[in-house]
């Protein structure tokens, strides 16, 4: 059995570690590329949102490399994502691929059902082995998040353009290759040093504008589909913070769900004056995090969403009032396979100009 799964940013490092430690052979799909997107959109319904199209591309590229089992997350609620596992299975079957698809639904407190589904993937393992695998995967996930956050903090001050991203890439490779918790710690330490080294002498002395990135989780986490907004903004001298990191997402959606813990209320409470109804996906979080960034005196917020994403459209309609009330500029970027590099770049540049000009006006006063 050779298991594969779809890409979402650097999530592959964690998932690969977890599965391999449980004795499963893993085929990581090639990193999403133009080829992935064109294969995916050719075989997907036009009005499905971008995640489905890229996932299909990932699966086909992995099946070409010999994968025979696909692991996919399920979902509940008004967002179409919950349906995608089934849709993807049918599309791929229709294309004549032979494979097994394991859809892991959100636990919602039903541990046994999840274990059954996971069991289909990894077979029988001792509890000790499960614990070891989870601990290593967890360490890797935390390391990835920490390195990404550090890269965001040093990028605006790097001495040569592109240095921070190169250092981050090297560090992530070491984390991916580490086979023990000590190894992960070492990789993290080295990566941290390398990233701090890219700061130009005196860099960080001047203050950089701060922009928060909110929106639909897949488009926020996957740099290929969002045209590398995070790196682009960083290289324009902006301190970027994302509203979501993979670790947060797993904690919220897997562990708290598994243990039936109450989920973090903060974004929901903050969003309440503007949006108090569950609209699926991360619609409420998008609004809540925008309010939070305004409270933290950020200079601007950028919302990212896939074209036709219903939860984010609801949030988009609400954001102008948040922007007006809290005095924070907000811009929405919507992506699909027709999005163009030049268009995204022009809008990012214009937004950074807007933010910087209002900052210098504020400083002058």
């Amino acid at each position: 059995m050779k298991v594969t799964f779809a890409h979402m940013g650097n999530l592959y490092i964690t998932v690969k570690a977890l599965l391999e430690d449980l004795g499963v052979e893993v085929v990581v799909p090639p990193m999403p590329s133009k080829r992935t997107l064109s294969i995916g959109s050719r075989h997907s319904p036009e009005f499905a949102c971008l995640p489905l199209k890229v996932n299909i591309g990932n699966y086909i590229e992995a099946l070409e490399l010999g994968a025979d089992t696909i692991a996919m997350a399920g979902g509940v609620g008004p967002c179409r994502f919950g349906l995608y596992g089934e849709v993807q299975r049918e599309i791929l079957k229709g294309l004549g691929y032979e494979f097994d698809m394991v859809i892991i639904d959100p636990p919602q407190g039903r541990l046994r059902r999840v274990l059954q589904q996971v069991g289909r993937l990894v077979g029988r393992n001792s509890v000790g082995r499960y614990l070891r695998a989870v601990r290593l995967a967890w360490a890797k996930m935390t390391a990835v998040d920490e390195l990404e956050k550090l890269a965001q903090r040093v990028r605006p001050f790097e001495s040569r353009r592109g240095e921070a991203s190169a250092a981050l890439e090297r560090a992530l490779r070491l984390v991916d290759e580490a086979s023990s918790i000590a190894g992960v710690k070492g990789a993290l330490e080295d990566g941290r040093e390398a990233l701090l080294d890219v700061k130009a002498p005196g860099g960080g002395a001047h203050s950089a504008p701060r922009i928060g990135v909110v929106g639909e989780v897949y488009v926020v986490l996957e740099p290929f589909v969002n045209f590398d907004v995070e790196r682009r903004l960083g290289e324009m001298g902006v301190l970027v913070e994302r509203s979501i990191y993979i670790g947060d997402w797993v904690r919220e959606h897997v562990f708290k769900d598994l243990l039936r813990l109450r989920k973090g209320r903060r974004p929901y409470d903050l969003a309440k004056p503007y949006l108090c109804h569950f609209v699926g996906g991360h619609g409420i979080e998008t609004v809540g995090h925008t309010v939070e960034y305004a409270h933290r005196r950020f200079d601007g917020v950028i919302q990212l969403a896939p074209f036709t994403c219903m939860p984010e459209i609801v949030a988009q309609d609400v954001l102008p009032s948040v922007s007006r009330d809290m005095g924070i500029p907000v811009m929405t970027l919507i992506f699909d396979e027709h999005s163009s590099d030049a268009g995204v770049l022009t809008r990012l540049e214009a937004f950074v100009d807007l933010v910087e000009r209002s900052r210098s006006r504020r400083d002058a006063m």
């Binding site: 992935t36 922007s323 590099d341 268009g343 022009t346 540049e349 807007l354 209002s358």
Partner: protein, 319 residues
């Protein structure tokens, strides 16, 4: 001593505009040229046309904007490369200091810029629709055999505009043909088309934006009196068209270059007129480094590669 001047160049898909601005912000010379898919040639031609104007001034800074801003920057040796939204906002605030809404419709792009106290507060650019308004008007004028310069006046003579289905240019055209065949008068159809394009702009680009007077309408389409009247009707307020409405992007680029040079302690990077006689060419190749298969573009001056861009990973970006 020659007086100082700033050069602003806006290279768009349909038009390429050059403006020479005095230190006081007065337009010394302006040019509005058709790009016709040859940005390099049109920049060279425009610069030669400005040659006499250049002889009397000392170029203290060069700014470029528009979709061809990077290309123009390399060829001219620009001091400041800015996106067209910022450039349009800066120019508009200069000519109408109290402006609170800028409607900008060019050949391909449509934008709205919301300003308060001279600062950009919000903006939007056409995304999935409302693109190509200028080109579409051009095409319809040609189809109807009306010179584009007279298209707007013709719309103004209509007393009973026809409702045109304007959601999409393709459907708008077939609806126009249908209305013609029903026997509607041409001025009523033309006026209806302007109203449809304004409706489409307001619901696609202007949606959710806080549109307040004074409203400034600029870009090539602002020449069309029918479009201006349709905006006034839809918004219920006067819409001003600035004198240099079709070269505002270039003016903005020149103003931004001026701003940049004020806080920079080095001379302009302007290559001068001699550099324009060089032979510039663009060539591209497909990078096979990864499945992205990026189209990488080389800009050459003579035989030397002076700029290169297009790769997603950045491996070709530095020379």
């Amino acid at each position: 001593m020659a007086r100082k001047a700033y050069l602003g160049v806006d290279v768009g898909s349909v038009s390429t505009n050059l403006v020479l601005l005095s230190e006081e912000g007065e337009v010394i010379e302006k040019l509005y040229l058709r790009t016709r898919g040859e940005p390099i040639a049109v920049i060279q031609r425009g610069m030669r046309m400005l040659a006499t104007a250049f002889s009397g001034v000392d170029v203290a800074g060069v700014g470029t904007t528009g979709s061809g801003r990077r290309l123009a920057a390399v060829i001219l040796g620009a001091d400041c490369v800015k996106n067209e939204i910022t450039a349009h906002a800066v120019a508009s605030a200069r000519f109408v200091p109290e402006v609170r809404t800028v409607i900008e419709i060019g050949g391909q792009d449509s934008k709205i810029i919301i300003l308060r106290d001279g600062m950009v507060l919000d903006f939007a650019m056409n995304t999935v629709c409302a693109a190509g308004t200028g080109s579409f008007l051009d095409q319809q004028a040609a189809r109807l055999g009306v010179p584009i310069e007279r298209f707007g006046e013709l719309a103004l003579t209509s007393k009973t505009p026809v409702r045109i289905a304007g959601r999409c240019a393709v459907f708008a055209e077939s609806d126009m043909i249908h209305k013609q065949q029903m026997g509607h008068r041409i001025e009523d159809i033309v006026a209806g088309l302007c109203e449809a394009l304004v409706r489409n702009y307001l619901s696609n680009v202007g949606k959710g934006k806080d549109i307040r007077p004074p409203v400034v309408f600029q870009g090539g389409v602002a020449a069309n009196a029918g479009m201006r009247a349709a905006f006034e009707k839809a918004l219920g307020t006067a819409v001003a068209v600035p004198e240099h409405y079709n070269v505002m992007g270039a003016i903005g680029a020149a103003l931004l270059a001026m701003e940049e040079m004020e806080c920079r302690n080095e001379p302009s990077r302007f290559r001068g007129l001699q550099a324009l006689d060089m032979d510039y060419s663009a060539s591209s190749f497909e990078c096979r480094g990864c499945p992205n298969l990026c189209e990488v573009v080389n800009i050459k001056m003579g035989r030397e590669v002076i700029a290169r861009w297009g790769s997603r990973c950045g491996r070709w970006d530095c020379l």
